[in-house]
């Protein structure tokens, strides 16, 4: 007998177990691993509301101001009467102006002004300055895998117990100076908060969300297999639940063919002739901009479980992802030259946590003579390959497979450091071999 996989029920079961441990468990921490688009934010909001309604005030720690504002808005949407505190910095423009329109949200630079509110939300950096207050009984730490161990050290004294939520497959936190000196120590300050937490508290309950609602059925198996080999997840939708159609037919160019391939299969690889180039490879940048222009010109429409009717594919629903900031700047300039302005163009670091219908990715290794640890980092490719609901188009120079074979990972092995699987080299290979099936050659 075949067991029918019911994503909704699976996800609900996981969520219930997490909430039970959070509300009724005896451990000081609960860790939740969440693959891309698995409803992490929804879980955080729900856990916060349940804790608050059980009469347990809590603090929420996120990593960036944008994440904090987003969380506050989501909380306000779900529970318009819940008093929420937004602790913010004293810089100019410290929070999203949209919060000013919400009466139940109190904003302050001082934690004391927000005492007694059910939920107080801020960034880890701001929480670190809070001293001399009664510790909260509960905390939720969002994006805990992107938080550095030393940031957790600075705030852990503020709470008694905490729910740690994050995506282990995304970019690891980094430091701008060397930290080899502490490699292998359980409290290596440059490691992620979760790895330090679990090294000292190995018995803590660990859960994971089993269903990605963002990634389409075409993408979940690839992303799961390449980046989460030991903790697989499924797509919440089936093949055929999502479609991408274009009103204007293909003109037969490489650009249009790769768009059609991606619309059909969820993936497209536009391959430029092999060449060593500067980081801001003008041809590749031009190709990226061309694909975006055509995506808009051809009148795309996205059909999904979210709406009855197809939704037009507008500039807001498209993103371009790059490895470096100068590449993003070059793509932005090229797009402006083609009259496209509203498309999000950013680096992997800044695209973390965002969601789009179609993404266009400039491959981190495209045109490079070497493959450094930065460009091979698993998380970078994972972020770039998991932002889309419908399709992802990758643009790169030919010859990346050979480049990878010429540059096996050479990072020194550090004693006492848990080896992360898969390594970037392996993940790059498995993504490439899948993309090769959707290849379209492009001649400038």
């Amino acid at each position: 007998m075949t067991v029918v996989f019911d994503p909704g029920a699976e996800a609900a079961r996981a969520t219930d177990a997490i909430l039970y441990d959070t509300l009724h468990g005896t451990d000081r921490g609960v860790v939740v691993d969440s693959p891309p688009g698995a409803g992490k934010s929804t879980l955080v909001v729900r856990a916060a509301l349940e804790l608050a309604s059980a009469g347990r005030p809590l603090m929420v720690i996120a990593q960036t101001n944008a994440q904090v504002d987003d969380l506050v808005l989501r909380l306000a949407e779900k529970a318009p009467d819940l008093p929420v505190g937004r602790l913010h910095s004293s810089d100019s423009d410290p929070y999203d102006k949209a919060l000013d329109g919400l009466d139940q949200v109190r904003k302050s630079t001082k934690a004391a002004d927000l005492a007694g509110l059910d939920v107080v939300v801020s960034t880890a950096a701001k929480w670190a300055h809070v001293k001399g207050v009664e510790p909260w009984r509960h905390a939720i730490v969002d994006e805990a895998y992107q938080m550095r161990s030393d940031a957790l050290l600075a705030v852990a004294g503020l709470f008694e117990r905490a729910l740690f939520v994050g995506d282990p497959g995304q970019l690891d936190p980094f430091s701008i100076v060397g930290s080899e000196q502490w490699a292998g120590l359980s409290y290596d300050p440059s490691a992620s908060a979760v790895s330090t937490l679990l090294a000292h508290n190995p018995h803590l309950p660990q859960h994971r969300l089993p269903v990605s609602w963002r990634l389409p059925a075409s993408a979940a198996p690839l992303v799961s297999g390449a980046f989460y080999p030991y903790t697989p997840f499924r797509s919440g939708t089936g093949h055929g639940d999502r479609r991408l159609n274009f009103a204007v037919a293909s003109d037969g160019s490489g650009t249009d063919r790769v768009i059609d391939e991606a619309a059909e299969s969820g993936w497209g690889l536009l391959e430029l002739p092999a060449r060593h180039t500067p980081r801001t490879d003008p041809e590749a940048v031009h190709a990226v901009a061309g694909v975006v222009r055509r995506l808009l010109d051809r009148g795309g429409a996205a059909t999904s479980e979210r709406a009855q009717d197809p939704v037009p594919l507008t500039a807001e629903r498209i993103a371009v992802g790059t490895a470096h900031r100068d590449q993003a700047a070059a793509v932005r300039a090229a797009l402006a030259g083609l009259g496209v302005t509203d498309v999000t163009v950013d680096t992997a670091n800044r695209l973390q946590g965002r969601e789009f219908d179609v993404t266009v990715v400039l491959h981190p290794l495209s045109g490079r003579p070497d493959a450094t640890a930065f460009h091979l980092e698993t998380g970078r490719l994972c972020v770039l390959a998991s932002r889309h609901r419908h399709a992802c188009i990758v643009i790169c120079r030919e010859g990346i497979t050979e480049l990878l074979d010429d540059h096996p990972s050479t990072e020194p092995v550090q004693l006492g450091v848990t080896v992360k699987f898969p390594d970037g080299w392996e993940a790059n290979h498995s993504v490439l071999s899948h993309l090769a099936e959707h290849r379209v050659a492009w001649r400038p």
């Binding site: 161990s149 030393d150 050290l153 430091s175 100076v177 359980s186 290596d188 300050p189 330090t196 000292h200």
Partner: protein, 531 residues
């Protein structure tokens, strides 16, 4: 590698000479640095073979361990080295000036200013390369926990009295060297390659001889050829003309010259021990002395070229004027030196083997702050470095073409003038990005408003440093025709949040570290310890 470094390296290849990567000296160079050229025994971690050390380029002190596996000889070497280094350090520890430091008052919990001593100058150690810094750390680690006969009469190999103290100082220098921009302990190859770009890879730049060949090639010879010669040329005996800068030695030297000499020394020593009467002993002592002298000669022959090269490198650095902020960073080094002097005087135990969680996090935070500070200060001090930042889109320079007075929206309107800067640079300016320029040494902030003139001009809104009045203070707003340079990075670093005390390490980081009342012991002697 940044675009400007790549360009400089290409130019170096083309011209056959290293190209400037800086126009000023970005590290403080002491008037009287202590140069240390150590050698280690191959295959024996932490067994020094010898060293040249001193502050006088014409009179280095040669220290040699004729049998590096002999613990007593090793300690004698370390004691001798300590006798050279510690008086040098002490000379700086005693000259102080009054300074202020803010501390937390234990009773009121408030920040108060306290009068403290600050050493007027600090010592500076210079080693040839990065491996030298690692060796300093290794020596520090292997000696700071040693017990002297006075501390522990039972210890099998008591250390000479000043050696553990010497180890603590080496450890301090080694740790300080990890702080970006610090200059207490410098690796010469790093400092040289910061200031000049050669036509070889940065890995090859770590070879002091090859690096100097690019910086200062012999008349008429291209740098690339001189560098290859420095790396490979051997004399009639098969020995490198430019020996490695250490602490590792050349295998050909080890095998052909050093090993036979040490064997002769060992034989002479055994013979001396077996001597039956005074006359025989006198003869054999003569042989032993000769054997020792031979080893000393060998060690000197491979350290002296490096010694001279280090001083040549220092000469090259001294041709550059010191950058404006280098003194500011040197003051931090002086604080660091004074702090460790005070810890030693206060009788604190040696630095622990491993940092605890809070110390590690504090060190990382300090180093990240210093790195950002260093990058900003180097750019502000040096137009060539700033050019690199401008090429990378992190700064822009240009002429002010228009200034329009405007006011803020607050209750008390404050000046918010709009300044248009015409520039050929292409800064990566995001919406409402903050930019900074240096105004009398202090950063003045502005906000990016938009592009003008088809993208060739940047419109900024100046937001601070204009005084409290309705009209901006004279000179605080750029005027039409002024040449200005704005950076996208901040000029000064904010201090981070204070971390908990180590005794309050939270549960997520393993709780407070265990009590360590007893001083840490050296590694126990095991059966495998044959030395």
């Amino acid at each position: 590698m940044s675009l400007i470094t790549t360009l400089a390296r290409l130019e170096a290849v083309e011209s056959g000479r290293a190209q400037p990567a800086a126009t000023v000296l970005h590290r403080h160079l002491a008037e009287r640095p202590l140069v240390f050229v150590p050698l280690t025994t191959s295959g024996e971690a932490g067994a020094p073979l010898g060293a040249l050390v001193g502050t006088d380029r014409d009179a280095p002190r040669l220290l040699v361990v004729p049998q590096p596996r002999d613990r007593d000889l090793r300690f004698a070497f370390l004691a001798e080295l300590a006798d050279v280094v510690l008086p040098y350090l002490d000379a700086y520890a005693d000259v102080v000036e009054a300074a202020e430091r803010s501390e937390t008052d234990p009773e009121t919990g408030k920040r108060v200013k306290v009068e403290v001593e600050l050493c007027a100058d600090a010592p500076q150690l210079i080693v040839p390369g990065r491996a030298g810094i690692d060796f300093v750390r290794l020596l520090g680690r292997s000696t700071r926990f040693r017990r002297t006969a006075e501390q522990d009469p039972e210890a099998p190999h008591p250390a000479p009295p000043r050696v553990p103290l010497f180890g603590r100082w080496l450890t301090h220098f080694g740790e300080r060297a990890r702080v970006p921009g610090s200059a207490l302990l410098l690796a010469l190859t790093d400092v040289l390659s910061r200031h000049w770009a050669t036509g070889q890879s940065s890995l090859e730049d770590q070879h002091l001889g090859a690096l100097l060949a690019w910086l200062d090639p012999p008349e008429g010879e291209p740098g690339a050829e001189a560098a290859v010669r420095a790396e490979l040329q051997r004399d009639a005996r098969g020995q490198l003309v430019c020996p490695p800068a250490g602490p590792a030695t050349d295998p050909a030297f080890d095998n052909q010259l050093l090993a036979p000499a040490i064997e002769r020394y060992d034989r002479a020593r055994t013979a001396l021990a077996a001597a039956e009467d005074g006359i025989e002993a006198d003869d054999r002592l003569g042989e032993l002395t000769a054997a020792e002298r031979e080893i000393r000669g060998l060690v000197e022959s491979v350290t002296r070229p490096t010694w001279d090269a280090v001083w040549r490198g220092i000469d090259l650095l001294r041709t550059l004027p010191e950058g404006a902020h280098a003194a500011d960073r040197w003051t931090r080094d002086r604080w660091s030196f004074t702090g460790h002097r005070d810890r030693v005087v206060a009788g604190e135990p040696p630095q622990p083997r491993r940092d605890d969680a809070v110390t590690a996090a504090n060190k990382l935070a300090t180093r990240e702050r210093e790195q950002a500070r260093l990058e900003a200060q180097e750019a502000l001090d040096d137009p060539l470095v700033m050019a690199g930042r401008r090429l990378a889109g992190e700064a822009f320079a240009g002429e002010v073409t228009e200034v329009v007075m405007a006011y803020g929206e607050g209750k008390r309107p404050s000046p918010r003038p709009l300044v248009t800067v015409r520039t050929d640079d292409r800064p990566h300016l995001g919406e409402r990005a903050r930019v900074y320029r240096s105004l009398g040494g202090k950063p003045q902030a502005a906000e990016f408003v938009g592009y003008d003139d088809e993208g060739a001009a940047v419109v900024l809104r100046i937001v601070d440093k204009m005084g409290r009045g309705k009209e901006p203070e004279a000179g605080s707003v750029p005027e039409k025709g002024d040449l200005v340079c704005f950076t996208l990075f901040e000029h000064e670093q904010r201090g981070g949040a204070k971390l908990p005390d180590p005794e309050e390490t939270p549960w997520t980081h393993g709780g407070p570290p265990g009590e360590s009342d007893a001083p840490p012991l050296p590694d126990p002697v095991t059966e495998e310890d044959v030395l």
